[in-house]
Amino acid sequence: MKRVLIYKRYERFWHWTQALLILLLALTGFEVHGVYHIFGYQEAVFVHRNLAWAFIILIVFSQFWNMVTGEWRQYIPSTKMLKAQIEYYITGIFRQAPHPTRKTVYNKFNPLQRLTYLGLRVLIIPVMVFSGLLYMYYTYFVNQQVVHDLRPIAYFHTIGAFLLLGFVVVHVYLTTTGHKPLSAIKAMITGWEEMSNEDAEVALEENLEVAMVQTRKGISGKGSIEKEGMFETAFEDVVEKLGIETESTRLRARLIDSNVGYFRINKDGIYEEVNDAWLNLYKCTNKKDVIGSHVTLDRTPEGKKQIMKLVNTVLNGGTITGERVERVCKDGSIGYHTVSATSYKDKNGNILGLEGFIIDITHQVEAERALEKKITSQYKSDDFYQLVSASNDVGYFRIGKDGFYQEVNDTWLELYKYGSKDEIIGKHYSLSRTKDDFIALKNSVDRVLKGETIPFGITRRYCKDGSVGYHHITMTPVYKGDDIVGFEGFIVDKTDKKLAEE
């Protein structure tokens, strides 16, 4: 069982507010109708009026939201799968057949829902609002030769009320037809819907697919890149699948801005489109150099084999997410990225090619590889130091057995906000910690000094200016001969992530 994000915050707010308003409107409305006595007639009338206005305001907000976010498209009725959906509710559901349609953030409604909700939106709700307003302000119309009798107004309002009540009953009942009886309601509350692994996979892929379409439109100028809300939500799903934690919107935005490369390849393996981020990652300057060339052009031999395997997977209708790939950049340097791709199709469903994202992980891979190398060469290689200390993305440090800094790189200084190495070398590492943090860190340091390599612990730092930062830290011992004389490691900044979590 997996969980997929389906409902945005505003949608959840809107749904539950609307639910409350409709139920209270029904409760007070039927009292005004004379069915029972709960609030008292007068209170019922005034509350009903206030509720009506609250409801109208909510409708205006929601229609505005639907319009600007493009969510209105979700209400466009479609006969595709309509029969299947009806058949499912009539027969399939009793055979435990799978749902014929899947819920994704871009296609929240099955065709039956689309039709029903559209009916509510364009027929029932307008009739209720219009007849309700006439009802409320009847005395102002009655002598104006416009309206002569309250009766038809009241009857329309009552018919609408019964239809809405019927809708609510069926609506609530149908929420139990999800993965588990309460899945749909939980989804409406938390936004995340529980699905079977299979369904989640498909939902995720569809989300990815739509994100691709949006990106394609943005790049080709046919659509607007402003659809960032949709893009990001899809992206959130995708990167979650990739194992990248993206709770922070800022971090995510940075990822998108910085190093998410987009590409599209036709079924012959020829680049059709790439974005600027892609070009940057490949250190190309001219798009024309790339478009038209084959996907295997800039690869190492293993790389070629791997990439063709992935391309073929997608061209056969599969989806790849978060595959690590090596690239050879224009200047001959080697980089690493993860690639997520899916096929794109023509109207008839024929696969025309594939498209996807690449996210740069070069520094991460390099640091990992160097560490691996250091470990395999029995901790005696200097490569790790050389590679990591030169890195612009990770901070390097070396501390002696006694706990005093021996070496840091520029990135480290930057993260700790020091001006030069002189300010820190020779100082004890407890300098920038609180007592608790120091004790925690010292435990780790003691383990490293006994020969362990500790990867990716998270720790807090106090920068020179007093601000607080967070980073992942990886520590490994430094040997001289067979003796451990200190420890070294790299830190990767996670401040954004940590702050977002808090």
């Binding site: 539950w16 004379g34 609250a54 509710y89 009793f94 435990q96 009802y135 009241a154 019927g166 009953v169």
Partner: protein, 553 residues
């Protein structure tokens, strides 16, 4: 934790905010609200002391002497007064759709003591004049004006009631032993008891006729009448003329049992404006509901009023052959015209027949546009199967929706409906004016001879209309719009008194849709069946799912 906070902020907080707003916010404030406390009542005072006037320093032998003396100073007032309905007992008035008629007590029949003609000797004890004993009374003789009955401030001046004994003067003369000099020296503004001396006791006793005008108004609290209250907290103690503004002896106010057009009326909004409520919704109700409808929830608060008068049982004698006078009958229910009246008092009198009295009566409600029709003396009776309405009030819901005359939009009004059976001529199809009041046996008077035939014949002859020699009794109704005994706001009708399915006060007013009272049973039943079918469908579907689920596992 993060999700829980999100849940609180996205769902629970908006719910709380909305519930709070929805249950506390009142948008229903009328900006033009005119509070009652802003109303100012100004009283004129009489700056002179009549007891010092030389012309009044003498012993007056006859009441006409007093009037003559009054007119020596108040010259012109007599001329003024003899044009008023209080003197003429009629006025020119328009019946919409029929024309202009002389309408008034003199020429209209009612279902109390039926009519003035041939009974003037008794009836004129409420005439503002002296000697109106028959149709030949000189309505131009100013000396016969009774100034004192309205302007006596001593409280000792009463008109003689000829019923109290044969030696009592008739035709509106003062009671025996009245000190005319003392009264004449203490005249002044008209007070409640002056007006009340006739208007509170019309029909033969306290509150018999109007239902909302009774002696209790002279000494009452706000619960009884917010305007005239003279006892208890916040008593305004208004006089009649504070509302019934009077100029040149023309007293405003219109009683639709003797009038028909919408002229010269006294309305609540003259003081209260048409926006007396803080609530806009209530002020909007004024477009179709008269103030009186909500603010007079009951009438006859102090004393029983007569609601049914069955003349057909009159003339029955007791076992000794003697007439029965004012005998209370046992029982407190009375069945009449298919309806049973509860908590009533029954009375029998050989002169009058059966009378039904009720106290704390809930009004009936009608559409009324300010004009009325009248069954005139010579009008033929068209239908004897239904009660004849003597003064049908014009108005309907549609008169409000599509007002032919925008000045007369119909509103819902509270009304006392007086019901009765009174004699009519089944051949000529005319209502009968019987001769009732006389002590002389053989005069034809019902109360002397106990003979309907003689009574009808004498009465009809008196008014110059044909009588076939046959009489029967016809069910009649008359409409008495309620205007007095206004209750404090806290005791006014509440929404649910009318907006109510089972027991709406307006249940007899049809032809329009009243929220809370009306619904289409077809629509409601269809709606309920629709919901039941849906529930059944859901239950069956759900059960099948559970069953099939178990099977498949």
């Amino acid at each position: 934790m993060k999700k829980f906070i999100e849940f609180i902020f996205i769902i629970i907080v908006p719910w709380i905010i909305i519930l709070w707003i929805v249950f506390t916010f009142t948008r229903d404030k009328d900006r033009n609200y005119y509070p009652t406390k802003d109303i100012v009542i100004k009283h004129d005072t009489v700056p002179v002391d009549h007891s010092k006037f030389a012309v009044l320093q003498k012993k007056f032998e006859t009441p006409q002497d007093v009037t003559k003396t009054c007119l020596t100073c108040h010259n012109g007032r007599g001329k003024e007064f003899i044009r008023t309905p209080h003197w003429l007992w009629k006025q020119k008035d328009t019946i919409p759709g029929r024309g202009i008629f002389d309408l008034g007590k003199r020429d209209l029949l009612n279902d109390f003591c039926i009519g003035v003609n041939s009974n003037e000797n008794l009836c004129s004890m409420c005439h503002a004049g002296y000697g109106y004993s028959n149709k030949n009374f000189d309505f131009h003789n100013q000396n016969n004006i009774d100034c004192l009955v309205c302007h006596d401030n001593t409280g000792t001046y009463h008109k003689s009631n000829p019923c109290l004994g044969s030696n009592n003067p008739k035709a509106g003369l003062p009671a025996l032993g009245t000190n005319l000099t003392n009264v004449a020296q203490h005249v002044g503004e008209t007070h409640k008891n002056n007006c009340g001396s006739c208007h509170f006791t019309g029909g033969g006793g306290n509150n018999v006729k109007h239902g909302d005008l009774e002696l209790g108004l002279l000494q009452c609290t706000r619960d009884f009448d917010v305007h005239m209250a003279s006892k208890g907290e916040n008593a305004k103690n208004l006089r009649c003329e504070d509302c019934h503004k009077t100029e040149n002896h023309n007293i405003t106010g219109h009683l639709y049992s003797v009038a028909s057009s919408a002229n010269n009326r006294v309305t609540c909004e003259e003081c209260h404006t048409d926006r007396p409520h803080k609530s806009k919704l209530l002020n909007n109700h004024f477009k179709i509901i008269a103030c009186q409808t909500c603010h007079i929830p009951v009438y006859a608060k102090g004393f029983h009023t007569k609601i049914i008068w069955d003349w057909s049982t009159a003339t029955k004698m007791d076992k000794n052959g003697k007439p029965i006078f004012d005998k209370d009958l046992p029982g407190n229910t009375y069945a009449y015209d298919g309806k049973t009246y509860h908590n009533v008092q029954l009375q029998y009198d050989s002169r009058h027949g059966t009378a039904v009295f009720q106290k704390d009566v809930k009004p009936e409600y009608v559409w009324f546009n300010g004009t009325a029709n009248h069954h005139l003396l010579h009008d033929k009776i068209a239908d004897t199967t239904h009660p004849l309405i003597l003064n049908p009030l014009f108005g309907s819901y549609h008169d409000n929706v599509e007002p032919g005359d925008p000045r007369h939009p119909s509103k819902i009004w509270p009304v006392k409906v007086m019901r009765g059976k009174q004699p009519y001529d089944p051949v000529n199809m005319l209502l009968i004016q019987p001769k009732l009041a006389s002590r002389i046996k053989g005069s034809g008077a019902l109360w002397a001879d106990y003979n309907w035939e003689a009574s009808c014949e004498t009465g009809m002859k008196y008014i110059g209309l044909p009588y076939s020699g046959h009489y029967a009794f016809l069910k009649t109704e008359s409409m008495w719009l309620l205007n007095h005994e206004v209750s404090p706001s806290g005791k006014a009708l509440q929404c649910a008194d009318c907006h109510n399915t089972n027991n709406s006060r307006l249940k007899n007013l049809t032809g329009f849709y009243l929220p809370g009272r009306d619904h289409s049973s077809v629509l409601d039943i269809s709606g309920v069946i629709f919901i039941i079918l849906i529930l059944l469908g859901v239950i069956i579907h759900g059960t099948l799912r559970i069953v099939s689920n178990k099977k498949n596992h």
